[in-house]
Amino acid sequence: MNLTLKVWRQKNAKEAGNLMTYPVKDISEDMSFLEMFDVLNEQLISKGDEPIAFDHDCREGICGMCSMFINGRPHGPKEGITTCQLHMRSFKDGDTIVVEPWRSKAFPVVKDLVVDRSSFDRIIAAGGFISVNAGNAQDANNIPIPKPDADKAFEAAACIGCGACVATCKNSSAMLFVSAKVSQLALLPQGKIEATARVQEMVAQMDKEGFGNCSNTGACEIECPKGISLENIARMNREFFVANLTE
């Protein structure tokens, strides 16, 4: 199939960017969206132009690195997948596809479609862990955990830190991401000990990074490629409320 791509080009964080138009030809429907970008980049290189910079690594939906805003939706038109899992059979011959980077004050553009998501790391560093040094642990089966809790913790832990939730939110809120980690650890007995400090520190860091407030529109849940549920936000709000009560 033949397509028209409109892609955000921006040299670096300082310079302004704009959308550039590129035609691509003979795209096979078996290609992934990123493989289509590989083809386009090969074309650009052969003309001596600079290829489009985009983030990607695993190309199987687990590392959370790919991050394209495709026709107004993070990770494109299909739900429950990342950009790298999107295949060209989801498009038709003649389509025009607009591709932009994640947009949020807390995710400044590095170049073209690449953004800086290190704010997420700093939120985890503020409290997204259980303080246990290597070598301190007791036998793993000494901490039985009811399966439903373990399953819920796992579902929350499935977050890949891609930032689609932030990108889609009109307030650029990071609540879904933060609440997934808070929930995972709050659901487990090992995590309860530091629960109060954790939620407070993580929320404080989230605010400091410039993410917006959550107004419960639920767009994040729809766009999350890993199905992280809004329930986590509710749980985090409870945790935060209780933490502030016990201050």
Binding site: K11, N12, D30, M31, S32, L34, E35, D38, L44, I45, S46, G48, P51, A53, D57, C58, R59, E60, G61, I62, C63, G64, M65, Q85, H87, R89, V110, V114, D116, S118, D121, I124, A125, A126, G128, F129, I130, S131, V132, N133, A134, G135, N136, A137, Q138, D139, A140, N141, I143, I145, P146, A150, A153, F154, A157, A158, G161, Q184, L188, Q190
Partner: protein, 659 residues
Amino acid sequence: MSKLDSKIPEGTLEEKWMKFRSTVPLVNPSNKRSIEIVIVGSGLAGASAASTLAELGYKVKCFCFQDSPRRAHSIAAQGGINAAKNYQNDGDSTFRLFYDTVKGGDYRSREANVYRLAEVSSNIIDQCVAQGVPLAREYGGLLSNRSFGGTQVQRTFYAAGQTGQQLLLGAYSALERQIGLGNVTMYSRHEMLEVVTIEGKARGIIARDLISGKLERHFGHAVLICSGGYGNVFYLSTNAMGSNATAAWKAHKQGAFFGNPCFTQIHPTCIPVSGDHQSKLTLMSESLRNDGRIWVPKKKDDTRKAVDIPEEERDYYLERRYPAFGNLVPRDVASRAAKERCDAGYGVGKSKMAVFLDFAAAFERYGKQQVLVLGIDNPSAAEIRKHGMDVVKEKYGNLFDMYKQITGENPYEMPMRIYPAVHYTMGGLWVDYNLMTTVPGLYALGEANFSDHGANRLGASALMQGLADGYFVIPYTIGSYLSNEIRVKPISTDSEPFVAAEKRVQETINKLFAIKGKHSVDHFHKKLGKIMWDKCGMARNEKGLTEAISEIRALREEFWKDVRVTGDANEFNPELEKAGRVADFLELGELMCMDALQRKESCGGHFREESQTEDGEAKRDDDKFAFVAAWEYKNQGSFELHKEELVFDIVHPTQRSYK
């Protein structure tokens, strides 16, 4: 004379590690604060080492090329992690895990290392659970296990199909905690491009800030290479796009010997190549072989749909050749058998380079059980099939979805098509028992070292090894070196060796830009991959390997004359990153072929066509080849082979048989 001293401690197998730990020299806490350690990599090995060494009080700098340490390729591991917990009471033990690993590695690993790995495996699970890693559980609240890779005990811990992700996020959270405490400085989007050695010892690295393009010098009393495997030398593999050999290769060129470079694991169940645009291959978990049956048509070039081929015209070749193990033969055996059928013209799909993995029998078997359970009388065949499908969906639903997403075919209606793909590299930097390379102060952990898997790695053992190295081995073994380094003050990065190392890196970068050739980096990478896959892949022979060596040399020359690297050095430039990596692959690829040529036996993942039994099975040659091949870098294209003899005191090598 061999320069290799594996430093295996005295004593019986069971005593070695215990004695070592109680007698290794320690660094006192106040000295630790002034000792700096550079860690390249934030995967399971790097993140666990960084957090643990920081917890002990060392000053750590950790590097990764992704935008966050959480995205290291360990994240993609699906199946699980082994540990000799014997929670299932099915006869597992440290000894049994040790034994299985040595045997599975086809007797090309060191007994002492493997035993230690088996010993600490239990601690890993304890540590991960304490960190909040949500491993799968039973209804009673205790941890669940599955059997994996054809072992007879259930010792594999898992978190659905996302075990690597969950373990890495655990290690990442421990790392972030130390970053928050100021004990680790994290350098994301940084690529290590050179090791700095001073008076024969590793003293730091040169890294490129991938955003600004600036070269940076970093001092360390010791340097740990935890940079993962080099499977991407084949261009197509299940590794992430950025996985590379550069860190290990630069270490090699600064004096670290490279161990068993030709030992590559080719995983039998991957989604086949769909066309020239293919950029990477996706693994379908090995667990599918527990329920799927592998077959090809008995007739060559059969173009009928799978469902239209009657039972008697199907060749279930694994069941035919290996009646005892059937579809569950080890990875190397299953991969070669698929290649054999496809090469002989029986392959399926458009490319004819695929075999079927069929669940129809599983649908029926589970369906019959289900209708009984549900009390359905006189069920129709369709009803049985539907109930069976539900069971299969429950077990492998995410994999079936993934397959459908990638291929556009529905695996509930037609069998999957699979083909082997490069997956893991057992070879890597040679290390002694302390995980130190042949350069003092330079260590290698995780997939980057050659240590524990011999010629073939068992499923669920890489995650175990990465975390063992980082959480439980290096914190002890590094003391024996650093206790002698406490008087060494941080060396100025303005000193001559740092300046010279940076200059080497700068010159390579300048050289790459200066070529201004016609072809993209990927063009060369694809060509290299094809040579490696055809001639140093699942089956190797003297003629092919000799040809490959000269083809790679020619390709390398062409690369340095004709590659086109766009953009500038002082900006974010993925093409430049790729160019540097492919330049290194072009050297490593040659060494892999040389190693494969030298090893005139078949063992594990290394199959030399000249060394096979009458019925086409791999034939080891213990008299001549029971050694680790450790290669010393001399000059471009010249390497010297050193041999570390392997001694088997406990496990007596036998020919593996799965008939």
